[in-house]
C-alpha cells in the first residue's frame, strides 16, 4: 500500500542517467559517421562502404528512438523530475530530430546521387565539418544541462559560433554554385543539399537556446 521506493528510485535513476548518456553518445557518433559518409561519397560515390555506413546511421536512429520512448515511459510512470520532465522530453525529441536530419541527408545522397563538381567538394566537406562541430558543442551543452549547469552558457555560445560559421559557409558555397556554369536544375539540386546540411546547425542553435532557458528554470 505504502511505497518507499528509495532503492528502486536510485536504481532507476542510474539506469535513466545511462540511457540519456547513451542517447547523447549516439547523437555525437551519428555526426562523426555523417562526416565520413560525405567524404566517402565525394571520393568514391555509392559504394558498399557508403551503404554500410548509411545502414549504421539508420540503426543508431532506431536505437535513439527506443531510448527516447523508454525515458519518456519511465519519467511518466515513476513521476520522476516532475518540475523538469516536460523540458527533458522536449529536449530529447528535438535532439532526435537532429539524428533524423543526419539520416535524411544520408538517404538523399544515396537516392538522389548529387553530382558535386571537384571545385565545390572542399567547401562541402568544410561545411559538414562545421555542422558536426556545432552538434558536438550541442552534445556538450546537453551533458552540462544534466550535470554541470554553470557550463551550459559556455557550450551554448560555441553552438551559436558554429551556426554563424555554417551560415557563412553555406552562403559562400551557394553563391559559388549559382555563379558557376552549371545548368539551373543542377544548381538547384546542389543548393538543396547544401541547405539541408546547413539546416542541422539552425536546429542545433534553437535547441541550445532552449537549453539555456531550461537551465535558468533549474536554478533553485
Amino acid at each position: 500500500m505504502f511505497s518507499f521506493k528509495t532503492k528502486s528510485l536510485f536504481g532507476q535513476t542510474k539506469q535513466l542517467e545511462k540511457e540519456i548518456d547513451q542517447f547523447v553518445d549516439i547523437l555525437s557518433e551519428v555526426g562523426l559517421l555523417f562526416k565520413s559518409i560525405v567524404l566517402a561519397y565525394l571520393n568514391s560515390g555509392i559504394t558498399d562502404k557508403f551503404d554500410e555506413m548509411v545502414k549504421q546511421v539508420s540503426e543508431m536512429e532506431s536505437r535513439a528512438d527506443k531510448i527516447t520512448k523508454e525515458v519518456e515511459r519511465t519519467l511518466y510512470e515513476e513521476t520522476l523530475i516532475p518540475d523538469a520532465r516536460s523540458d527533458v522530453l522536449r529536449l530529447l525529441e528535438h535532439l532526435d530530430e537532429i539524428i533524423g536530419m543526419y539520416q535524411g541527408n544520408c538517404y538523399h545522397f544515396s537516392i538522389q546521387k548529387p553530382d558535386f563538381p571537384k571545385e565545390f567538394q572542399d567547401d562541402l566537406i568544410k561545411l559538414s565539418e562545421t555542422v558536426v562541430s556545432c552538434v558536438e558543442s550541442l552534445c556538450l551543452t546537453v551533458r552540462s544541462f544534466f550535470r554541470d549547469i554553470k557550463s551550459v552558457r559556455d557550450h551554448a555560445h560555441k553552438v551559436t559560433f558554429y551556426e554563424k560559421e555554417s551560415d557563412k559557409q553555406f552562403s559562400s558555397l551557394a553563391r559559388k554554385i549559382f555563379d558557376s556554369e552549371l545548368t539551373l536544375d543542377k544548381k538547384m539540386h546542389l543548393r538543396y543539399f547544401v541547405e539541408k546540411i546547413d539546416r542541422i546547425c539552425d536546429q542545433a542553435e534553437d535547441i541550445a537556446d532552449e537549453i539555456q532557458i531550461y537551465a535558468i528554470k533549474r536554478s533553485i
Partner: protein, 350 residues
C-alpha cells in the same frame, strides 16, 4: 469514562483534527503538491512522526501554556478549544495564514479574564515575542540553507535525475523531522489545556515502563492530528504545493527543513537546557505557528532572490493575525464560557 468527559475531550480532538488537516500541508505540501512524494507515503510518515513528537517531546511547550493559565475544569478546557477552533475557522475564511497557537493563547486569556484568574504577564510576553521571532528565525535559517544548498549544488555536479532522487529522499526525511517537530511543538495547543485535569491515570507496564496520563492525552491528540492528516490534508497539500508556493524541489526542501528546525527549537528541552548551561539565553518552549514558519522561510528565500518571491501581502496578513486572532479567540472564549456556565450550568473553573 464519563460521557461528559468524552464530549469535552472532543473539543481538543476537533482542534487536533483541524491542526492535522491544515498544518500537515506545511510539512509535506510542497513535496506532495509537486508530486515528489506520494500522498499516502507523506500521510503515513507524517502521522507516525507527529505522534512520536507529541509523546516524546511535547511536554515543554505544554508546561509554558499551563503557566499562562492552568484551566482547572473540563468545561473550561472545552470552551478554550472550541473558541480556538472557531476563531481559526473564521480567520481561515479570510485567507489568513492562521496559527492554532495564537488562537489557544487568546482563548486561555479569555478563560483567565472570565474566571478572574491572574494572567502571567511574563509568560504572555514570552509567548508574544516568539510569534514575531518564529517567522524571523525561519527566514534566517532558510537563507543560510539556501546559500549552503546553492554552494553544494554548484560544486557537486550531480546529474539532474540523481539530484531529483536526493531531493525526494531529503524531502521525506525533512518531512519526518517536520512532523516530529510539529507534534512536539503543537500538541500543547491540542491537549495542553486538558493536562491539569486529565481524566486518565498512569499505566505501569511490568514496573519497567510508565505510560503517564499526560502521554496518554498526547497520544490521543497525536492520533487526532493523524486522522486530520489522512482525512482532510490532501486537498490542502495540493493547494500549498501548487498555488501558494511556486518553489523548485530543492527550495521546497529548504522551506521544510527551516520550518522543522524552528518548531524543534521552540520545543526542545535539550537545546534549551544546553543554551542555559553555557550562559546563553534559553529558548522559551512555546508552541509556535508552522504556517508562519513556512511563510517566514519563503520570505527568507525571496529576499536572497532579490525580492522576487517575497509574499509581502502574506507577511502583512501574518502581522494582522498576531493582533486579531488572539482577540477574536478570547472574545469567543468569553461567550462560550458564559453559555456553558449560565445555560448548561457547567462549572468552568474551581
Amino acid at each position: 469514562m464519563d460521557l461528559t468527559i468524552i464530549i469535552f475531550l472532543l473539543g481538543g480532538l476537533f482542534l487536533g483534527w483541524s491542526l492535522g488537516a491544515n498544518d500537515a500541508a506545511n510539512v509535506f505540501g510542497t513535496a506532495v503538491g509537486t508530486r515528489m512524494v506520494q500522498f499516502k507515503t507523506a500521510a503515513l510518515v507524517c502521522s507516525v512522526f507527529v505522534i512520536l513528537g507529541a509523546i516524546i517531546s511535547g511536554a515543554g511547550t505544554t508546561e509554558t501554556l499551563g503557566k499562562l493559565g492552568a484551566i482547572n475544569a473540563l468545561p473550561g478546557a472545552f470552551a478554550a478549544c472550541v473558541a480556538a477552533g472557531l476563531s481559526v475557522y473564521i480567520m481561515t475564511k479570510f485567507g489568513l495564514p492562521v496559527s492554532t497557537t495564537q488562537a489557544i493563547v487568546g482563548a486561555i486569556v479569555g478563560w483567565n479574564i472570565y474566571t478572574g484568574s491572574s494572567i502571567n504577564i511574563k509568560i504572555l510576553f514570552t509567548i508574544l515575542s516568539t510569534w514575531v521571532l518564529c517567522p524571523v528565525i525561519a527566514a534566517l535559517i532558510a537563507m543560510l540553507f539556501f546559500v549552503l544548498t546553492k554552494q553544494i549544488l554548484r560544486k557537486s555536479n550531480w546529474h539532474l535525475l540523481r539530484l531529483d532522487a536526493y531531493t525526494r529522499t531529503a524531502l521525506l526525511l525533512a518531512g519526518a523531522f517536520g512532523a516530529y517537530s510539529l507534534g512536539a511543538n503543537n500538541i500543547a495547543n491540542v491537549m495542553g489545556v486538558f493536562v491539569p485535569i486529565s481524566p486518565f491515570t498512569d499505566i505501569h507496564l511490568m514496573n519497567v515502563f510508565t505510560f503517564s496520563s499526560k502521554e496518554q492525552l498526547f497520544l490521543l491528540g497525536g492520533i487526532a492530528i493523524a486522522v486530520g492528516v489522512f482525512t482532510y490534508s490532501k486537498k490542502v497539500m495540493f493547494t500549498v504545493g501548487n498555488d501558494l508556493l511556486k518553489l523548485s524541489p530543492p527550495a521546497a526542501f529548504i522551506v521544510v527543513i527551516a520550518h522543522s528546525i524552528v518548531l524543534f527549537l521552540f520545543a526542545s528541552q535539550g537545546i534549551s537546557n544546553f543554551l542555559h548551561s553555557i550562559n546563553l539565553p534559553a529558548i522559551p518552549l512555546v508552541p509556535v505557528s508552522s504556517s508562519q514558519a513556512v511563510v517566514g522561510a519563503v520570505i527568507g528565500i525571496g529576499i536572497l532572490k532579490r525580492g522576487k518571491e517575497v509574499q509581502w501581502d502574506i507577511a502583512g496578513k501574518i502581522a494582522i493575525g498576531w493582533f486579531l486572532l488572539p482577540v477574536i479567540a478570547a472574545l469567543i472564549s468569553l461567550v462560550i464560557l458564559f453559555v456553558l456556565q449560565n445555560i448548561f450550568n457547567q462549572a468552568v473553573s474551581f
